[in-house]
Symmetry: C2
Subunit: 518 residues, 2 copies
């Protein structure tokens, strides 16, 4: 703290105009970054300390009003460098430490320091993935990463194409776009009005991005048939087949099935081989959304859960989830080579000149929906160098061991109830906390109504206290339950134990309104 105060005195009277490209700006720039790096690394270290809070919660209006002089308003005149560093510190102070070992809130968690180093370099290079001429190294890294991931999926040497894009929803959108183009290439120029009524299929537990893609692409969300799942959240193949037949009987044209490898809430794996059989017999595009489950392909022990994925025509796989890469890092892998380019190419001459002096097949930007595209590959490439494939394997295995530990604990505790009794397949563990007042109540609507209120109330208290963070949601006929997910290698079994104690202690005395209070 002392050191910090001393050093920023250097920057009191300086403005950003004193930094590079100012003529004598090198030293000032280095000093400014040195101060910044101290702030950032102190935050990184704190993120991993169990004694530090996960978050220091404030309501939107409190933050907007400017806490302790932290003003979000945009000035006409410049602020000095000291103030900027204070702003940086405050921005981190009021944020959420997603790398904290007790942050269980969502599928992406953890702060991989090598990935972070990769991001710092990426932003320093500040370039664009659209052409080889401005991103020679990153374009090649993307090619090598995609090839490796395709190989891990199980495609042959001759198969495979792909692109990194901003998130799993975009990857899933690509898959629907490509499937539509594959069967009806005229859609690119003529639009959907030239096509019959298309139908796609996805399970009740799948991610909402499939419906969103149908809405965006002009297919319409009602043309997404939601296929029933079993109790465990897996798509029921017979239900898929009968839905396909029904759609055909109604004169519609089924063309695409999304199977999920690792559902968002339950972490369930759809039976890929059975689904692939159905897709083959009906001639449908099989997409596997392995945004969350793809990481398990790195583990000899767990990859069996994705058996059949090699039969997919396209695969979404987000290394920013289970593999711990910083946000965002998502790949859409496509079996049929050349399709991405045919589907998306517009041949803009100002960018993709064909008379360049190098091999322009490396100008991959014309394969994408985007024009400018952020470099999302370097962090993953550097992590792969740092860990090796084997490092990812141990990391994934460890996350799943944490889930097994949580599951075993929950089975033994009378104050918790599992949402489904079978062993977790992924690192998702779903459960209710049962407060004392509900423990002897018989099942039924009144207990459900009360139980539904428990998780939000506990989460609210947990966020106010700031020592851990976990998500909850209802699903189908299940009222609000907690979903714990592990993707942070910093999390140990002691953190899992802490979480249960924290929930039990916050939940023990919560006040649930009885019917007469309503």
């Amino acid at each position: 703290e002392q050191k910090y105060k001393y050093n920023i005195a250097l920057t009191v009277s300086l403005l950003c105009l004193d930094l590079l490209p100012a003529l004598s700006g090198e030293d000032t720039t280095k000093s400014f970054f040195q101060e910044l790096v101290n702030i950032l690394l102190s935050y990184v270290c704190k993120s991993f300390r169990r004694s530090s809070k996960v978050l220091d919660f404030h309501h939107p209006h409190q933050l907007r009003e400017g806490l302790e002089g932290f003003s979000l308003e945009l000035p006409d005149q410049p602020e000095n460098l000291e103030q900027l560093l204070v702003d940086c510190r405050d921005t981190l102070k009021y944020g959420v430490k997603t790398g904290h070992p007790r942050f269980f809130n969502q599928l992406s968690s953890g702060l991989d320091v090598i990935g972070l180093a990769g991001e710092w370099l990426t932003s320093t290079a500040n370039t664009n993935m659209f052409t080889y001429e401005v991103s020679p190294v990153f374009i090649l890294m993307e090619e090598i990463l995609l090839k490796k991931m395709q190989e891990i999926v199980g495609w042959s040497e001759e198969e495979g194409d792909g692109v990194f894009c901003p998130g799993g929803t975009m990857s899933n959108l690509y898959s629907v776009l490509l499937a539509r183009y594959h069967f009806f290439p005229e859609v690119k120029t003529k639009g959907m009005t030239a096509l019959p009524r298309l139908i796609l299929f996805t399970s009740a537990h799948s991610h909402y991005s499939v419906k969103k893609s149908a809405a965006v692409l002009g297919i319409g969300s009602e043309n997404v048939v939601v296929v029933k799942c079993n109790d465990r959240g897996k798509m029921i193949p017979a239900e898929l087949e009968s839905s396909i037949i029904t759609a055909k009987d109604q004169g519609c044209v089924p063309f695409y099935v999304n199977a999920t490898a690792g559902t968002t809430v339950y972490g369930a794996f759809d039976p890929l081989n059975a689904i692939a059989d159905i897709c083959e017999s009906h001639g449908l595009w099989l997409h596997v959304d392995a945004a969350w489950g793809g990481g398990l392909l790195m583990s000899k022990r767990h990859r069996v859960k994705l058996q059949g994925i090699e039969r997919a025509w396209s695969v979404t796989w987000n290394p920013h989830k289970m593999m711990g890469a910083p946000l965002q890092c998502s790949a859409i892998l496509v079996k049929k080579r050349g399709l991405l380019k045919d589907c998306n190419q517009m041949c803009a001459e100002y960018l993709f000149q064909t008379d360049k002096h190098y091999d322009t097949s490396y100008d991959t930007g014309d394969k994408t929906i985007q024009c400018g595209r952020h470099v999302d590959v370097f962090k993953l490439w550097l992590m792969w160098k740092a860990k090796g494939s084997e490092g990812f394997e141990s990391q994934v295995n460890k996350c799943l061991e944490n889930a097994e530990h949580l599951f075993d604990n929950l089975k033994q505790r009378p104050d918790f109830e599992l949402v489904f009794k079978s062993e977790p397949e992924h690192s998702n563990v779903c459960f209710w906390y049962i407060p004392p007042s509900l423990r002897n109540m018989s099942p039924g609507p009144e207990r459900n109504r009360r139980l539904h209120e428990v998780a939000p109330k506990i989460k609210a208290k947990m966020m106010e206290q700031g020592m851990a963070m976990i998500g909850y949601q209802p699903l189908g006929d299940k009222v609000n339950f907690f979903r714990c997910v592990f993707s942070n290698p910093a999390t140990q079994t002691e953190d899992v134990d802490y979480l249960l104690e924290e929930i039990a202690s916050l939940g023990h005395d919560i006040c649930i309104r009885t019917e007469t209070d309503l």
Copy 2:
């Protein structure tokens, strides 16, 4: 160099497993980052030095084969920390210095060091824009930035919504999606087959993303009517009006017009008020693609070129272009509040629970096409704090002064020819270099054929030498010409002069095949 070698000795025997979250990983992590920061800052300083090369060009196969031990292949076993630092240095070495004062290759250039600081913090915070609970500060910064940009566009207090998204193409895609939903809300559920044949309009000089959006959204690229431009690259309003009438006569339904404020190649501004009049009289959605030209709104001197932009229903504005923010930073601004949410909302219960304890209108993720979304706002927010609105104004003015300087020089030189004679409106300056062998040739197909080869040949030589970088393209009936653009505040008039000398010296002796060689 000596210092560097000494320090990395510390990391020779260490692996990433010795870094955080390892138990005693704090010191190792700090040392590793210290080394990395030395590499990155040395690159930053070099980027601004005119004596350093812009790029060290290698062909794809050369890089793939592994230059001087720089292997891109992904290992099974981990590499040590020293090797990782060497990999980082090599990645930068073989890349392109987009921040170099003599990098004129594209609309996004420059390395704003405050923006860079913002990116380092953003990646350290490693969070997701989908909900307030994990991004409280960034969500509010986005709101404040969007509000400010809407105010600058000229919308009233009661109007305005928006979102930052991954690039101008995505922003333009949002605009078409929103326009379609506004007129035909049933498209979200029923798809395009429930709709009449929709037609949209954009100019011949506009960005290809409008056609791409039509292809992606299922409207079809043939349903984009390309409206003629004048010699200066501006849309001709009378042509727009007659195209609209023709489309209606053919039984189609016009619904959307894209006007460009700052075209990609010429930097032309479409006459917004005249186009807005036509849109109003026909009841069409007016989108203004100000991805490139939006920055001029910051300048009292230049914002007059966007007169009428306040009449747009939506606006694309990329601060990563003219305002120098690191890639990516693009906003889609929407006049009608609530439309983004109505159009894109899917109400996923695992993410957008309605029983949270804070004001969930701040969970803005349901307004977007994406689910997970990178934090693109902090860098811009920090830059705004550092420069103030006035700092952006001087920056923009300076870029346009460089363009004027180049234009004035070109007018006076016999070895160059301007593509159009009028003063540049934006920072784009388009020109041919005329090698000695063509100077006395009369205009016609043979001169055109030869002139077409000049720019690619010069660019190839320029990339091999690596001292500057500029783009070229053909456009309409114009054969390949150079397009110089200024968005890098590090560029001085001396760099502009250097560029012309460099082109002249590289081009003086180039060998253009005569017809008999073919």
